[in-house]
Symmetry: C2
Subunit: 172 residues, 2 copies
C-alpha cells in the first residue's frame, strides 16, 4: 500500500511537471497570437529596431521552427517545409520572397493547431523519449535529449523573439 | 520488483526534469553574462530601440527579479531590495537614480552566485514544494505553484528581455 502511494506520488509529479512545461509553451504561443492579432500588417512588416529583423521575418522564423517540431518530435510530416529557406536558412532582407503577412499568420495558426493535437495526445512518460535528431545510442548516454527538453528550449527561444517583436507595438 | 523499477524510473525522470530546468536557467544567465561582458558601459546605457528601455534599466530589472528569488524561494534575505523601486516599481526614465553600470554588473554577478549556492543545495523533490507567495491551502489545490515553476517562468522572462538587450550589440 505504501509502495502504491509512492508510485502514485512520483507519477503525479511527473504529470505535474509535464503540465508545467506544456502550460508555459501554450502561454508563449498565445502571447505571440495576441501580439500578431493586435498589429496591423504594416506594423508587423516593420523592423523591430533600426536595421534589425522585421516582424514578418520573425513570425515566419517562429512558424518555421514550430513546423519543424512535427518531424523532430516524430509526430508526422511538416506542413510548410518551404519556409526553411526564407526563414531559417537565410537571414532577413536577403532577397527571399516572403508569403503575404495574412498567409504567414494563417500558417502560424494552422501549424500550432496541428502541434496542439499531438501535444494533447502525449502521455507524461512519452515526453521523456528521444527526439528524432538524437540516435538511440546517444540518447542512452544523454537522456536529457528528450522531447520535453526540446519543447522547453523552444519556449525560451520564442520568448527571446517575442521580446523583440513587442517593439512593433506603438509606444504608450 | 517491477513496481520498484517503475518508482525508480519516474524518480529518475523527476531528477532529470529538474536538471533540464536548472540547465536552461543557468544557460540563460550565462548568455546575459556574456552579453554584458561584451558591451561597453556606453552601449549598455543606450536604448534597446528608439524610445524603449535602456540596457541599464533592463539589467537592473533582471538583477532585481533574480534578487527577489531569494525570498520567494525561501532561501534567505535579499541582497539588494533597494533595487525594487528603480527597476521594478517604476519604469525606465522616470527620474530614478540608477547605480553606476559597473555596480549593477557586480550586483548581477553577486546575486547569481548567491542563487547558485542555493540551487546546488536543492534536492529534486524540494523543487516541487510551494514558493513563499502561495499559502499552504492554495498550494494544496494548485501544486503547479511550486519553486521549479517559478524558476522556469523566470527563465522565459529573462529570455524575453535578453532578446531586447541583444539589440545593444553593434549590427554585423
Amino acid at each position: 500500500m505504501q509502495v502504491q502511494e509512492e508510485i502514485n506520488a512520483t507519477q503525479a509529479n511527473q504529470a505535474l511537471f509535464v503540465q508545467m512545461a506544456v502550460t508555459l509553451w501554450d502561454g508563449m504561443n498565445k502571447r505571440v497570437d495576441k501580439l500578431i492579432d493586435e498589429l496591423t500588417d504594416e506594423q508587423l512588416a516593420a523592423e523591430t529596431a533600426p536595421g534589425r529583423n522585421t516582424g514578418t521575418y520573425l513570425l515566419g522564423h517562429l512558424a518555421a521552427v514550430n513546423d519543424g517540431l512535427l518531424t523532430l518530435m516524430g509526430w508526422g510530416e511538416r506542413l510548410h517545409p518551404e519556409m526553411d529557406e526564407p526563414f531559417l536558412k537565410t537571414p532577413d532582407k536577403s532577397g527571399q520572397n516572403f508569403p503575404p503577412v495574412a498567409t504567414l499568420k494563417e500558417y502560424w495558426k494552422t501549424i500550432n493547431a496541428e502541434l496542439g493535437k499531438h501535444i494533447s495526445a502525449m502521455q507524461p512518460q512519452d515526453w521523456f523519449t528521444r527526439h528524432m535528431s538524437v540516435s538511440p545510442e546517444d540518447f542512452e548516454k544523454e537522456p536529457n535529449r528528450n522531447k520535453l527538453n526540446v519543447l522547453m528550449g523552444r519556449t525560451v527561444h520564442q520568448s527571446n523573439h517575442l521580446g523583440q517583436m513587442q517593439f512593433l507595438s506603438p509606444r504608450k
